[in-house]
Amino acid sequence: MFWGYDIFLPVVWLLLAAGIILLIDLFSDEPDKVQMPLFFTAIGGALLSFVSLNPYWNAPPVQPHFNAVQVDQFSAYLMAAILVGTAISMFASLSYVRRIGVSLADFLITLLLAASGMLLLTVSNDLIMLFLSIELLSFSVYVLTGLNSRSSRSAEGAMKYFIMGGLATGFMVMGMGAIYAVTGEVGLREIGRRLFALFAQPDGSEIMAVLGMGAVLISFAFKVGAVPFHSWVPDAYEGAPTTVTGFMAVAVKAAAFGALIRLAIVAFPDNAGVQGFTGDFGWASWALWALSAMSMVLGNWFAISQRNVKRMLAYSSIAHSGYLLMGIASAGASTEAYAAILFYLLAYTLMTSGAFAMLVYASSGGKDIESVDDLRGLAWKKPAVGIGMAIFMFSLAGIPLTGGFMGKYFLFSQAIDAGGRFMWLAILGICTSIVGSFYYLRVVAVTYFREPDDRPIHGRDDWGIKFALSLTVLGTVYLGISPTWAYNAAREGVAQLQQSAVVVVEAPRKAPPALVEKP
């Protein structure tokens, strides 16, 4: 159908919705009256996009158009997570963006464009597509960060993010150029094949290849906010409108880690190569080890001293990037680390976007929640804040019966399975999570055990935010109680991706490998 272009349907729906919103906004005289149509157009676009993922579950991968994209269950899983994050962000923003004086149309259009960039990133199967979708996503997110034109902090955060992002993009282009120079290919599978042959029989150009792959990895480390490329995170998270922060934290991470895993499996061979081409960052395992360890330690440590909730959650997001990078680092030596990452991303999407939506909900009726102290005693004035915040914080801290616990359990157990230095990484992760639970539980303690201030609660909460909160609370608890389904889907997706990559049969060391391609 549609000459094979139907694999773009998920993206097309989002872009179509963005276009319609643009037109409605352009031709309407009274912006107040079209709020609901705008909102429902956006939600409808996300919903249709979600529905159009349906053909890719339990189906073989599809790769039309010069293999520029590959749609498979792996990407469908990530796209679902991204769309859920996007939808939650939209629901939570229903009246929030107006309260902070941002036009709903601007917000929705940019959000939809960012989401379409993310969807494309998860399916990109060659370097050009990868670059284009990353740029589409990045520029949209820069704009989203600076959307609050009344706030100087918003503008500051956006500016810093943009400048740093420019540097990261430079690294990415440089790295891609190096890879192209060595292999002469842009398709990920072809690159993988060439690189594999190269590493089996090095001729000196493999140094160039490693530098290229490393530069690409560094730019992704920037996107997920790993230490030491994290410095934009606190400023951008604090400055951006709260619902945008939630979106940035979850969706950008999901898309970036998705692309990283695809690169690892399809394009980047491990350095030994004889065990079979399953793909990992074996050549970068110490670097990833260091990135992960630094992110976990510094993210959790710095978060403790933050009084501003959004900055605290920013550092927490750095720490969570560290946990996820542990999965990437240990993937070569364990069997299901990638599946654990996918599951973690899903759980992380629900709990983090829920936590940010909760900040919006808690701050209804006047001043925004900024400092942790602004939450004091709120559980008694607004019981839903107490319970919901407790569930999200428990989940972020990794306390059982929540999705966050199951995610950490899967990730850490994979790292322990991998053994050796990855086991130490897992032990470090467990220790830092214990430290991290301090600042998460402090939020819960403040909402319950501190005397409430006399600020009145006024202003009605719209149904959108209530819906977003219900969805995230239920989802977080569901994943904690019954993780099996989501985890198995992730495992199947990763297995499918691994099968679609090139497989080496019986390759002796230092001998030309026999290549067998699996359909």
């Binding site: 490393g214 490329f229 410095s231």
Partner: protein, 686 residues
């Protein structure tokens, strides 16, 4: 939907979930309810569960069809082959327990409406009581040791909450804590036992496990001929028995149960007599197919059970508090049940559990009725309202209560034709028969039998001492209390009457073989114990039960029956004749101050066991915890962790401020430096 609820696999879930729902309703919205609506919700939930259980019993289980409910596997660990399977399994045994819990539970809930009507915390009370029913039903209905353990902990929690229900008095909350701590010791053993069983068999489910099809039943049956580490199974069973000692109040962990009488009296009837304390008995009967392989552990159970029966029985002889008498009697009767289990006669243990549930609940509720009528004048929590020496002659004031208490005491004492006679006699006969089967003079069977008969003497004595002191003779307390004492309301006497009928009738479900070959109870339970018995018969074990009766065994049964009947009737009559006369109390006090003073004080002070535990365990632990407080709390936590972490945080924020300057130029430096280091790592460190 219609079909869904006709499906027994789904319907079975309603049995535990209805009380949970009732508990949640009363717990969340209780403040808006009055006693009528609160009581209606709680009673409705349990009665509803009883009706569903009864319909399932009639349509399925009584016809030999077991029910395995739909379920859910949680925490599936593929590599280890471990999953917590939440399923319910209703076979003959668990269904019987379900009927006891919901049936007796219903009556006690109804009774509570009258008893707790004037207490302001009634919604909290009913919420706890319903929650207890839920946990107890999960304990018996769950298809794995994990659900059993969850229920086990749940009933422990509810017991703690209800013992300390009137927590404003320190004595009551202390009793709650004591129960909780002593049970934790037992639970530790129970967990060890569970781990050992999982280690050996790879599953904890009885019937259905995602990784081990057929669960423990199948895996034990397949390995029953020499493929098991019997040593390990013995140890596992000993560990499980430690858990049972805690929950079912056996030596050495029985000390919490007498103190647990601090709770409201209906709670004592439901939790500390009829249901929760029998959890240990249920657990061993449930796992009988494993226990038959652990003969050493079984003999330990038999000896501990007999010792407890005798020991607690003697303490019960001299207690003055009406509820304490009944509490020690419960400990003693539980000892009888464990005796039967240890001798390998599981169905008889369950039978005694069954009859005991009725007559002991009846006695507690009757005692509650007495206390209720006296508290009316004496005030709530006045110890005089429970002091037998300050009662007497209440027969005229409380005729119904007196009648039913006499029925209950006849059951407890084992007077022929009352239910306790049939079940206790069967236990003693089991011991006697085993003694003759083992041969060789004095052996385990005869020793246990002798201890059991001695315990039965005590039982008969204190039962009728209680009746005599409470209802006959002359009133010895404050006159106002007697003048205003009146029979309890209908909501309390009706459950008493029903329980009295059950306390008489329950015994006739299993007639002694010497009289009549009529035993529907044991026929009904036979499939539960079939696998274990088959193994015993295969090995020609003396512990195997024999269905056919020889002339010799009938003769032995007659001998045993005549001995125990004569003892029961004679001792009961003796005790009653002393204590129903006005001089009874004076004679006991004369005895106590006379030359029998030393043994009397020994019994009155419960053999000084509490004091002994105080010296042996509590004081050393207090000293240890004082040391630990200084070492760990003051030095390690306060000095190192708290101050240390404060310092770490301060350093962290200083570094964070230094790093996070907000100046983009610095960010770029960090980026470039990080990239350079990483690229070096890529190239040179692999």
């Amino acid at each position: 939907m219609d079909n869904l609820f006709k499906n027994p696999e789904v319907l079975l879930w309603l049995v535990p979930l209805l009380p949970l729902l009732g508990s949640a309703t009363n717990g969340l919205f209780g403040k808006r309810f009055n006693i009528a609506s609160s009581g209606a919700i709680a009673c409705g939930a349990v009665v509803g569960a009883f009706i569903i259980a009864l319909s399932l019993f009639i349509s399925r289980v009584s016809q030999g069809i077991t029910i395995q409910s739909i379920g859910y596997n949680w925490m599936v660990v593929q590599e280890a082959g471990f999953a917590v399977s939440f399923r319910l399994y209703a076979d003959q045994l668990s269904m019987l327990m379900t009927l006891i819990i919901t049936g007796v539970g219903s009556l006690i809930h109804i009774y509570s409406v009258g008893y707790m009507g004037h207490d302001e915390g009634f919604a909290r009370y009913f919420s706890y009581l319903n929650l207890f029913c839920f946990a107890m039903l999960m304990l018996v209905l769950g298809d794995s040791l994990v659900t059993l353990f969850l229920g086990w902990e749940g009933v422990g929690l509810c017991s703690y909450l209800l013992i300390g229900f009137w927590f404003k008095e320190r004595k009551n909350s202390d009793a709650g804590k004591k129960a909780f701590i002593v049970n934790r010791i037992g639970d530790f053993g129970f967990m060890l036992g569970m781990f050992l069983i999982f280690w050996h068999f790879g599953t904890l489910s009885y019937m259905d496990d995602p990784f081990v099809p057929g669960g423990l039943y199948r895996i034990v049956a397949e390995n029953s001929h020499g493929h098991m580490d019997l040593n390990l199974i013995n140890w596992a069973c000993v560990c499980l028995f430690i858990g049972a000692c805690g929950k079912s109040a056996q030596i050495p962990l029985y000390v919490w149960l007498p103190d647990a009488m601090a709770g409201p009296t209906p709670v004592s009837a439901l939790i500390h007599a009829a249901t929760m304390v029998t959890a240990g008995v249920y657990m061993i009967a449930r796992l009988n197919f494993i226990w038959v392989h652990a003969e050493a552990a079984l003999q330990l159970v038999a000896i501990v059970g007999a010792a407890t029966a005798l020991f607690a029985g003697t303490i019960g002889l001299v207690q003055r508090d009406i509820k304490k008498v009944l509490a020690y009697s419960t400990v003693s009767q539980l000892g009888f049940m464990f005796m039967a289990l240890g001798l390998g006669n599981y169905p008889v243990a369950v039978f005694h559990l069954f009859t005991h549930a009725f007559f002991k609940a009846l006695l507690f509720l009757g005692a509650g009725s007495v206390i209720h009528s006296l508290e009316h004048t004496l005030g709530h929590g006045n110890p005089d309202s429970q002091d037998l020496f300050k009662m007497g002659g209440l027969k005229k004031k409380l005729p119904v209560t007196c009648m039913v208490m006499i029925v209950g005491s006849c059951g407890l004492a084992g007077i022929p034709l009352f239910s306790g006679f049939f079940s206790k006699d069967a236990i003693l006969y089991t011991a006697f028969e085993l003694g003759s089967a083992m041969g060789g003079g004095i052996n385990l069977g005869y020793i246990v039998w002798a201890m059991g008969v001695a315990a039965a003497v005590c039982t008969a004595f204190y039962s009728f001492r209680l009746i005599g002191l409470c209802f006959f003779g002359k009133w010895r307390g404050a006159d106002a209390a007697y003048a205003h004492a009146e029979e309890s309301p209908r909501s309390m006497t009706l459950p008493l009457a029903i329980l009295a009928l059950a306390a008489i009738g329950a015994g006739y479900l299993w007639m002694p073989a010497a009289w009549l070959n009529y035993a529907p109870f044991s026929d009904y339970l036979a499939p539960v114990f079939a696998a274990g018995q088959e193994h015993l018969h295969h090995n020609h074990s003396v512990f195997a039960l024999h269905a056919e009766h020889s002339a010799d065994s009938i003769a032995r049964e007659w001998v045993n029956m005549i001995i125990s009947s004569v003892v029961a009737i004679g001792v009961s009559f003796f005790a009653f004749s002393i204590y129903s006369s006005p001089k009874g109390v004076a004679r006991e006090q004369a005895l106590a101050s006379g030359k029998m003073g030393a043994p009397y004080r020994l019994l009155l002070n419960k053999y000084y066991i509490d004091e002994l535990y105080q010296i042996l365990f509590v004081r050393p632990i207090q000293i240890l915890s004082d040391v630990a407080f200084v070492m760990i709390d003051v030095i390690f936590i306060d000095l190192i962790l708290v101050n240390g972490s404060a310092m770490a945080v301060a350093t962290g924020s200083r570094i964070a401020r230094r790093v996070q300057t907000g100046v983009v130029r610095h960010y770029l430096y960090a980026f470039a430096a990080g990239a350079a280091i990483l690229l070096a790592l890529f190239l040179f460190v692999r």
